[in-house]
């Protein structure tokens, strides 16, 4: 429990047409989930990628820094050491010509773990995420595993890296309802028992209701509202959050 907060300050991302994300501040605490919500195209994913300096070509981060317990830290030192990233489409996040064991070895090697210690750590992390058929999974390539299994494998790799924080960009939107429920159960277990601090990017208010402590609402590249999850559901203040909540409540049947 060496670090307790990870802060993003004044993030600004520019493309050719101008600023896409402006003045975004976020704060993550260990053992808590901060949800970043907004409709498609509001800049949620860019915020997530931009904070770790992983922007696609053509986009640049012109402002913004990461603070770990108040100390500024370059993104390159945060990535994989302080914060891991889990993306929406797990299939594209794996090297297609390397098996899962090889991905795991790479991650563990960076932390100076090898040999039997590495194998023990792999076993432990795969078990933690519920990948029980361990030998088969480790020998498998990405195309041989289902989306839900790959998403668990991403989390297992994040666990192996032993980062205190996790950034998850729409981690469940490609999963079916059962895999989604299992994934969120696992995530919350890691938050509550291992004190993981999570930034959860999502457009599903059901996911927010299930997991979040705090919510930041994004619209057109800016944070337009910040509330606790209870505050947001009871008194949504921005148009963006009301639109999302209305659709959620109509579709979810809004049974009290």
């Amino acid at each position: 429990m060496e670090h307790s907060t990870l802060e993003l300050q004044g993030l600004r991302i520019e493309g050719r047409a101008g600023a896409l994300v402006e003045d975004v501040d976020l704060q993550l605490r260990r053992g808590q989930v901060c949800a970043l919500v907004g409709s498609s195209g509001s800049g949620k994913s860019l915020t997530c990628l931009g904070s770790l300096d992983l922007l696609p070509a053509g986009l640049t981060r012109t402002h913004g820094q990461l603070l770990l317990d108040g100390q500024a830290l370059p993104a390159a030192q945060v990535r994989g050491r302080v914060a891991s990233l889990v993306l929406q489409n797990p299939r594209s996040a794996f090297n297609p010509v390397r098996n899962m064991a090889s991905h795991a070895q790479e991650t563990l090697k960076l932390r100076g773990i090898g040999g039997t210690a590495a194998r023990a750590r792999m076993a432990q992390c795969l078990e933690a995420v519920g990948l029980v058929d361990r030998e088969r999974v480790l020998q498998a390539f990405a195309f041989q595993l289902s989306g839900g299994m790959l998403q668990r494998m991403m989390i297992a790799l994040a666990l192996m890296a032993q980062t205190p924080f996790l950034l998850a960009d729409e981690p469940t939107s490609d999963l079916d309802a059962l895999s989604q429920a299992r994934f969120l159960d696992l995530l919350m277990e890691l938050v509550q028992q291992h004190g993981l601090g999570v930034l959860l990017v999502t457009h599903d208010m059901g996911v927010v209701a299930r997991c979040a402590d705090h919510v930041a609402v994004m619209d057109a590249g800016r944070i337009v509202e910040r509330q606790t999850v209870h505050g947001l559901f009871e008194r949504p203040a921005s148009t963006a959050s009301r639109t999302l909540l209305d659709a959620h409540q109509i579709l979810a049947g809004s049974t009290p």
């Binding site: 053992g31 498609s40 599903d204 059901g206 999850v229 999302l244 979810a252 809004s254």
Partner: protein, 270 residues
């Protein structure tokens, strides 16, 4: 009026390959169904339960290993010529992957007009008019017709995809996870538009999904598929609940409507 009859179909795939031992994987077994005009039916099931295979068989894209799907008394996998055209105009399928469903080098308008060029007698001007009407029906505008697929967002592209499926005013539209990638706001808008269409022109829908809330909002009847068999077939009413294990699991997996965790502040400082 019954549109499609599914008569005791079973289907499977050969597994293995050059090096692995060959086997047979039974995907569907003993499926007996009817789809009526103007009805919207939800098809629920977890991954690998055979939902998409059933969709492909309904459309005649594959021939079932056993039994048959009939449209107006004819086996859909044996239709040829005019009958095949009539069937293709009457039954349409929309997949989840919208970017993969469009020719990347052609405009959206061109793609939406594709079924009209092949299966209708409309001339060029009438086709353009029809494309415009379809785009508007799905909440898109004239400007979107000129754009290329990559110039549209995922949600816009999926709406264009559904617009194309509606081009020939089909009697039955199968939506295979077609709404799963969209956010709730878009899902709701699209379902409202499709519901209007169902009421006005008695178009029937089959909504294939694993999301119980969409079924509850949009469907009158729900089928639950597990390991290739229909394990439940029941009307959707106020408090939809299932007897079968898989239905119960799907119900338990539904996300909460409201937060239930104690306030974070209390948890931390309390």
């Amino acid at each position: 009026m019954t549109l499609l009859h599914v008569n005791d179909i079973g289907h499977g795939y050969r597994t293995g390959g050059l090096l692995a031992r060959r086997g047979w994987l039974q995907v569907l077994d003993g499926i007996q169904l009817e789809f009526k005009a103007g009805e919207s039916v939800g098809l629920l099931g977890s991954s690998g339960s055979g939902k998409s295979t059933l969709a492909r068989l309904l459309l005649g894209l594959e021939t079932p290993a056993h039994g048959q799907v009939t449209f107006a008394g004819q086996d859909v996998s044996r239709l040829r010529g005019r009958q095949a055209h009539a069937f293709q105009s009457a039954v349409q399928l929309v997949f989840q992957d919208a970017p993969g469903a469009f020719n990347p080098q052609r405009s959206i308008g061109w793609s939406i007009a594709e079924p009209l060029r092949h299966l209708s007698d409309l001339d060029s001007a009438a086709r353009d008019q029809r494309v415009l009407t379809l785009l508007q029906q799905m909440g898109l505008g004239e400007e979107h017709a000129q754009r290329l697929p990559h110039q549209l967002s995922g949600g816009q592209l999926q709406r264009a995809n559904i617009a194309r499926a509606l081009a020939l005013s089909p009697q039955l539209v199968v939506l295979d996870e077609a709404l799963s990638n969209l956010d709730r706001v878009l899902q709701l808008q699209l379902l409202q538009r499709l519901e209007a269409l169902r009421r006005e022109s008695s178009t029937a829908f089959v909504l294939i999904t694993h999301d119980l809330s969409l079924v509850r909002y949009f469907c009158q009847r729900v089928l639950l598929l597990d390991a290739g068999r229909i394990v439940e077939d029941r009307p959707v009413d106020g408090n939809l609940s299932f007897d079968h294990e898989v239905g119960k699991q799907l119900q338990a997996a539904m996300l909460p409507t409201r937060p239930f965790k104690p306030e974070a502040a209390n948890l931390r400082t309390g």
